[in-house]
Symmetry: C2
Subunit: 318 residues, 2 copies
């Protein structure tokens, strides 16, 4: 399949690098600095050019959207509210009857009803496995079980927050201490606000809730509908108290057809939900198949690119 | 989709009962006692008839294979060696360009090369998610990641053996004691030989290995190629010794493109592989997406039927 990739961060870059291994070719690669077009694009040269000059190519960014691709991979940074430019990029592709694979959470978490309208009017399909839990096949498993046969999805959906909580519990250290350690290790970003205040986990929860709601013909939710509490003010004493009782604390996101809640919760110390480090886990409660637990790498360029390319692999040919 | 179901044990029965919820209709239901045909079959009446008279319907078994169905659900008991009647039933459907969804492990574990020949000559497709780990989407996750990007799949694939080992470790009881307890509870069958001697886990391992090998153009394996050791002669002392060291014993099946090994292994007591009770877990080692862990109900009528119906849901329309 011919891919146009917009966004050249860790995920977009990995998709570009791994596409040919999966039998696809990259015909466009762009970010706000410019676009490289080709049939196919020389990915290595384009990425080297970006490292050297700051720009991936000399064409204007908009040229990518008009290129002859089969699927647009939208991997620009997630933005809240209007979810731009991700939303308009996705709609532009759907309007041309092209497929869209999102790594960007914004369009599904903030404007899913509008996006669905564009999908209904298009011969292109929309997929967004990479927006929830990186390499973990959360969305596809819900789809395969049947979203109207899933009552609840719960899990650890932010690796940075989980790393911080795991370390606080294991070492008895304070939140501030562990967070700056995580930043030194490159596990936490320079501005980890959305990871530790629950926003990132909530966006993923809203995406899952929207899949559950769509199957029930209910209107999509947005981040504003989620009840969100972060881990920033969690004292080390809360973790040591939990530990004395054989429990620990995890930032748990829970999505049902009725809504989304995110917050620190007590979970059994050696239980399924207490994944450690940057791991993510998703628990899917089904009506006939019991509870399914899926854990793995919830972030990272190659891991998330792997989810994008699995999505591409399931698209029908154009 | 119009389903013909052959085999009316726990799985076939559940598929028949749940099919309409998934938007499918049952046009045939058969086992060795006879067949019920209809457009659609009155499933409730057919199952009641089987309870009362022993026969699901008055038509001969063979009539089912000639019926007008889109997909054959093969849920007769797994047999070793020639894998009959499952193999011939599957091939008969493929020869008529119908889809086949297997719950029966035999055809893929014992005669996969021949079965693939029949698939290549057919317009029907073959799926067999339900043969490995019940409700756990093991085969589909390997397929979605890409079987040639999966190096190794390992896990607990037999719930009976896992129940026995969990109880032996938790209670310090002997193998014989726990096994008869499991039989009383209905967790173990009257003849649990294939569960405790590793055969059942090995069949599942061979199925996964065959998926990995097919992607690498290598000939299929059979049960004879697997190295298998069971848990029948494991002394309670082995579990208590392991426990003193923070470890426990699980019956682990491991499949790579090179082969299959099944046997009792030491694993960390609170580690991911140490699922308890009748739970199953599958660990998928990928090249770019790291390790994915999926756990859930590995057996049971509705759980396995859920996997069958997910497979049906992914078949192309005829």
């Amino acid at each position: 399949m011919r891919l146009a990739i917009v966004g050249v961060g860790a995920v977009g870059r990995s998709v570009a690098e791994l596409a040919s291994e999966h039998g696809h070719e990259v015909v466009g690669l762009a970010d706000s600095t410019g676009a490289a077009l080709g049939d196919p694009v020389d990915v290595e040269a384009a990425l080297a050019r970006k490292s050297e000059t700051g720009a991936v190519g000399e064409e204007p960014y908009e040229a990518l959207l008009g290129a002859e691709y089969d699927a647009l991979v939208e991997a620009t940074p997630t933005t809240l509210g209007d979810a731009e430019p991700g939303f308009s990029n996705a709609v532009a592709a759907l309007d041309r009857d092209r497929h869209v694979v999102l790594a960007n959470k914004g369009p599904v978490a903030e404007r899913y009803d509008e996006l669905r309208d564009a999908v209904r009017a298009s011969e292109g399909e929309l997929r967004f496995e990479a927006t929830v839990g990186g390499a973990i096949p959360a969305v596809r498993t819900v789809e395969d079980v049947g979203p109207n046969r899933v009552d609840r999805v719960r899990g650890v959906l932010n690796g940075t927050a989980n790393f911080v909580l795991s370390r606080m519990a294991a070492e008895g250290l304070s939140y501030d201490h562990v967070l700056s350690e995580a930043q030194d290790l490159g596990v936490a970003e320079a501005d980890p606000t959305f990871d530790v205040d629950g926003t990132d986990a909530a966006l993923k929860g809203v995406i899952v809730a929207n899949v559950l709601r769509e199957a029930r013909d209910r209107a999509a939710l947005t981040l504003d509908d989620a009840e969100v509490e972060g881990i920033e003010s969690l004292p080390a004493s809360a973790l040591s108290l939990a530990g004395e009782d054989g429990r620990t604390v995890r930032l748990i996101a829970e999505a049902t057809p009725d809504g989304v809640r995110v917050g620190p919760r007590l979970v059994p110390e050696n239980g399924t939900l207490a994944v450690t480090g940057t791991q993510n886990i998703v628990q899917i409660e089904t009506d006939h198949a019991g509870r399914l637990n899926i854990s793995g790498h919830g972030a990272g360029g190659p891991e998330t690119a792997s989810a994008v390319l699995s999505d591409v692999g399931r698209l029908p040919p154009r």
